[in-house]
Symmetry: C2
Subunit: 340 residues, 2 copies
């Protein structure tokens, strides 16, 4: 068979500080070619990518340090789901569905050295769910929740920002499962409706209702799951109950470099507030097995819901990523690269 | 015997925001009189105050809410050491040395209802030590350290601000006892010398050497014991090692109401920083017994040192308190009210 087109999203250079500009985001779509029947595997395996996850963590790697940041001229890397087309590796066979860190390209041959970053998954749940509630977003919510929300605050009041996103939507449901009253914020009426469907007791649009007013009325809060930072974090500190726990998962509000200065951190002392920054990968060894045992079943049974927004075409990756950071994407975004 | 003078420091009204101004600090010295031989005890006991502790916590109570704030027209209240002159209470007898929350006045009759706030102490250590390394300052350091510094970071690098103060000087020694490299900052050369005597490996004057430069050279830091907040806290976040623990004990830098906005809190996420606000009284039930068993012996043997600055005369309380907040007092300040 003759070569086919192999679309790719390549990292060229770190974007300038400030809001990402299309064409200058650091990621460029281009097309290469590959002969999927004859390309040498050298002991590895060839994957056809079906779905790729778009997550805020990509931003950090676009401007990240050597070793963590992306490599100029190479494809962007993030979690994806694909099908093995050919394999010379014992752990994978043609037809397997694999999940793991994948290049942003339609077809990739992974060498033996990278085999460890993949796992074979099944179709017991919709395939896109592997990239949302069972993927990085779901892991972030689950690991952070299990590690940093103690029994002393369960059953009380939880506030979640970006509650309609991949992480936030899982946090709402974990909090409800722990018997908490859940207050959730997001930036559109459509997102407010989603948060209510997910079980939030109080859902509001922070663009039309002041966060501090809602928290003054519905708080004080015992847990704040922070996906945004900035003024929302400051309002949460003001509204915190004594011995509150803050889980710092993301600060997307400052992604454009306009970091907001938090002026009320002194309240952490009289209120005995505990603030927990965390990185999902460092908690995987502790909570991963329990997560994989628990969450897929709850997804399959419908007990845990999710809201994934599938956009077709790898060439849309940049647009969707910028949309996610600026709040224009409603659900957890996933790029459909190839047909299932 | 005829009445004697009974000097008092009375709370009149909450001070205006901003640096405290002498005469408008909220505390006023005045003189009453008392007949110590005949004043009615009504089942309580009469205490002659020997020493009163001056601590930053007084500021919060000068402007505090009802129940926590001081009561207008009544004396300022803080930890003190006194001698029982007369008693009708079974727990105390004439001659006993008592430690506890005391009125800022020379003589006070405490009713039965307040007896629980006092304990009888001995003279196995210098009496002023009960108000420093064995008092609120020592308790703050010990309880906060035991509760919030896990074994994962012991033996690594600790940074302490206000390292020559009552709390900071104990923290330096606790960190050294846990095998840590200690970096300590304060605002004068005299304080730098004290911090070195206490065992700090690196001691510097933040007024003449930039904190960020020292931390860049001597860090990264695994523990930050924060007594000041503000720009120092921001520099510590920049210099934090992954999985660092920050213990928020005080933010005296913002005491004048000019709160500094912390702009780099997003670093708590990639660095997995844990920030622990705490209030000493809430940790007393957990760590108090161990503290009372351990620290007085280490004071008596000289294994733990302290630096108390004794100022004679209750009328000096306001001046010493303002001096403490503005960094003009070198050691942990104590007012000597009466002769031992």
């Amino acid at each position: 068979m003759s070569p086919v087109t192999n679309g790719q999203v390549i990292f060229n250079e770190a974007p300038a500080p400030g809001p990402l500009v299309p064409g200058k985001s650091g990621m460029i779509y281009k097309e290469d070619s590959i002969d999927i029947d004859t390309v040498a595997l050298d002991g590895g395996f060839l994957v056809k990518v079906l779905y790729l996850s778009i997550d805020p963590v990509i931003l950090g790697r676009l401007g990240g340090p050597p070793g963590w940041g992306y490599v100029a001229g190479k494809p962007i890397l993030n979690y994806g789901l694909g099908r093995v087309l050919r394999s010379e590796h014992a752990s994978f066979k043609a037809g397997d569905l694999v999940y793991g860190l994948m290049n942003f390209e339609e077809y990739t041959v992974y060498p033996v050295a990278q085999a460890g970053q993949f796992s074979v998954v099944d179709n017991s749940i919709p395939l896109v769910a592997w990239l949302g509630p069972v993927g990085l977003a779901g892991e972030s919510a689950y690991y952070g929740w299990k590690e940093h929300v103690p029994s002393t605050v369960k059953g009380k009041v939880c506030f979640v920002s970006s509650g309609a996103g991949g992480v936030g939507s899982m946090v709402i449901q974990l909090a409800k499962r722990d018997g908490m009253k859940v207050i959730a914020s997001a930036g559109s009426e459509e997102k407010v409706a989603i948060m209510k469907q997910l079980g939030a007791d109080v859902a509001f649009n922070y663009k039309t209702t002041a966060t501090k007013d809602i928290l003054a009325k519905e708080g004080p809060i015992d847990v704040y799951w922070d996906n945004v930072g900035g003024e929302t974090l400051e309002a949460a500190i003001d509204a915190a109950a004594p011995f509150a726990h803050f889980i710092e998962c993301g600060m997307v509000s400052g992604y454009d470099g306009q970091a907001y200065g938090i002026k009320n951190l002194f309240l952490t002392i009289p209120k005995s507030i505990q603030i927990h920054g965390f990185v999902v990968v460092y908690l995987a060894s502790k909570w991963g097995a329990e997560f994989r045992e628990t969450i897929p079943k709850l997804i399959a049974s419908g007990e845990i819901k999710y809201n994934i927004e599938v956009v077709k075409g790898l060439e849309k990756a940049e647009e969707v990523f910028i949309g996610q950071l600026s709040g224009k994407v409603t659900g957890k975004p996933v790029i459909q690269v190839g047909a299932e």
